[in-house]
């Protein structure tokens, strides 16, 4: 494309990446590892004993991102729980993995189960799963979990939200659900033309294609770092049938929220 001053610029297309024509690229497909799922020894023996290698699970709660995982940590995992598994994906040879999600190169997502309600499985996904890995990550997670209700919590920037009138109080929440989900959602549907991508979309698509009742709650936040409001925007999710008796809005949750916000602020002291 020639410009006003006569120099020729490469034209970029929003739809089409010129690299895609490079056939050699196929050999350079990401060197990062594909997702690996490891269950704890207790779960492995449970799976062996079950009929079709499937965990007994009536609700799978998946939290993706700092605000949703903070919310689940405070309000759902406030009582006793056990680690039952881990999914690691996207590790390259240069990454170090701490298994405690304390390094910025950590790529592990942990799976927990409440001791009082072992049919509720919680997956905390604080590490970023790339869009290319999302499909296989989802297949791994659902390889031993079938026929349960799925609740996905995710968040994104409020600037991603497209609407004719921007009169929502931020933060706010919208939802999308699979066609076999029968419960009443706790908030409004995400209006057109907004879309959801990456891991939350991959999980919801999997549930839609395999007729699993699932709902995705997407929070639109205005702060880059997590704060109390960003986590509390998910409170209406606790009206879900399975979560009602599990979660209690009590002082312990407030303390946990405060602690998480403080931890985050210490790591980011530039703007207080």
């Amino acid at each position: 494309m020639a410009t006003f001053f006569g120099e020729v610029l490469d034209v970029a297309s929003r739809a089409f990446d010129a690299d895609d024509d490079d056939e050699d690229y196929e050999e350079k497909i990401t060197q990062a590892s594909s997702p690996i799922l490891r269950w704890s020894p207790g779960i492995r023996s449970e799976l062996k004993q079950s009929q079709d290698n499937v965990l007994n699970c009536s609700l799978l709660l998946l939290a993706i991102g700092p605000a949703p995982t903070g919310f689940v940590q405070s309000y759902v995992l406030s009582e006793e729980y056990e680690d039952i598994g881990v999914i690691i994906s996207g590790l390259t040879s240069k990454d170090n993995n701490s298994f405690q999600q304390s390094l910025h190169t950590d790529k592990s997502c942990f799976v927990y189960r409440l001791k009082r309600r072992p049919d509720i499985v919680v997956c905390q996904c604080n590490a970023r799963v790339s869009a290319e890995q999302a499909f296989h990550w989802t297949e791994k997670l659902f390889s031993n979990i079938k026929k349960s209700c799925v609740v996905i919590l995710a968040s994104t920037q409020s600037t991603e939200y497209k609407a004719l009138e921007q009169n929502q109080t931020i933060p706010f929440m919208k939802c999308l659900c699979s066609s076999v989900f029968t419960e009443k959602p706790s908030c409004d549907y995400l209006p057109q033309p907004n879309t959801v991508s990456e891991l939350p979309a991959a999980v919801l698509n999997h549930c839609q294609v395999h007729s699993i009742p699932a709902i995705l709650y997407m929070a639109y936040l205005d702060s880059v770092h997590i704060d109390a409001a960003s986590m509390k925007v998910f409170l209406p999710v606790l009206d879900n049938t399975f979560l009602k008796e599990v979660s209690k809005v009590n002082g312990k949750a407030e303390k946990s929220v405060k602690k998480l916000v403080e931890l985050n602020t210490i790591q980011n002291p530039l703007y207080i």
Binding site: E26, Y189, Q192, L204, N205, Q208
Partner: protein, 273 residues
């Protein structure tokens, strides 16, 4: 790859399959949106594949003010029994490096379901046109030998469409270039810059003897709705999808879905000025 919705037909023998390629201006995908919305096609299944990036949203084809909570996923399949047409809509780009795998899976699906003919809707960079292509119509087509046997007369003589001009590579053929030798004669020197998987699918379609046509318009990035209207109207001239009585401009003939609102982003807060 194909997962059907519960209680839907699975026999598409003799149907026409229309697919979009993710290409410059997203013209093929916009075209499919028009087809599905105007013809009221019904979802019959999904193309569940790891070769396409994940995306989902709400009720892409509603018209008017209703917002139902009906989920749409990355790649979905719609059909009409009356028009004997199956249409695929793809809403996200391919995963880098997986285009060949996607084309192979697509060809296998096409062969197993025995579609009568396959039409790929795509577009190509208008700035890459030859001098001879700058004047005249912006529509071009390519057809495999298998399709030429049944449709060449309609396309060239009745509709008077122009076949895409062949272009030899400016770099010439290098010695021992095995990739070039693999390509069947009918697919040699095909050049569709910005066309997405169009060339790959056409080459594989020639090798596997699929009755495949590639329909493209030359365009640039921008407001590509008029390009989509051109492509869809041309397709309609061939397949006669709309009732004959619907006269008028393409803008009047084709309905636009709600997912086309705010194509260029949200409105801005005017109080900042």
């Amino acid at each position: 790859m194909y997962v059907g919705c519960p209680n839907t037909p699975t026999d598409f023998k003799g149907y026409t399959l229309v697919l979009p390629a993710v290409s410059v201006g997203n013209v093929g995908q916009l075209s499919v949106d028009l087809l599905v919305t105007t013809l009221g096609l019904v979802r019959v299944g999904y193309l569940h594949s790891d070769c396409v990036l994940p995306v989902c949203g709400n009720d892409a084809f509603s018209v008017g003010k209703d917002t139902q909570g009906s989920l749409v996923t990355t790649t979905e399949v719609y059909y009409s029994e009356e028009k004997k047409i199956v249409v695929v809509q793809q809403r996200a780009p391919h995963v880098k490096g997986k285009q060949n795998e996607y084309c192979t899976s697509l060809i296998e699906w096409i062969q197993s379901y025995q579609f009568d003919k396959v039409i790929l809707l795509t577009s190509s960079y208008s700035h890459e046109r030859l001098d001879s292509q700058i004047q005249g119509g912006r529509l071009r087509y390519l057809a495999t030998t298998a399709l030429q046997q049944t449709c060449e007369d309609t396309l060239q003589n009745e509709l008077k469409w122009l076949p895409l001009e062949r272009r030899e590579s400016v770099w010439g053929k290098s010695v021992g270039d095995s990739k070039q030798e693999d390509i069947p004669e009918q697919a040699k020197d095909v050049f569709i810059p910005g066309g997405g998987i169009a060339k790959r699918l056409f080459v594989q379609g020639c090798k596997e003897n699929i009755p495949l046509a590639v329909l493209l318009v030359f365009c640039a990035e921008g407001n590509n709705v008029p390009d989509a209207l051109t492509l869809t109207s041309s397709l309609n001239q061939w397949l006669n999808l709309l009732p004959n009585q619907s006269a008028g401009t393409p803008l009047q003939q084709w309905k636009m879905p709600n997912s086309w609102n705010l194509l260029f982003g949200s409105t801005y807060d005017k109080t900042i000025y």
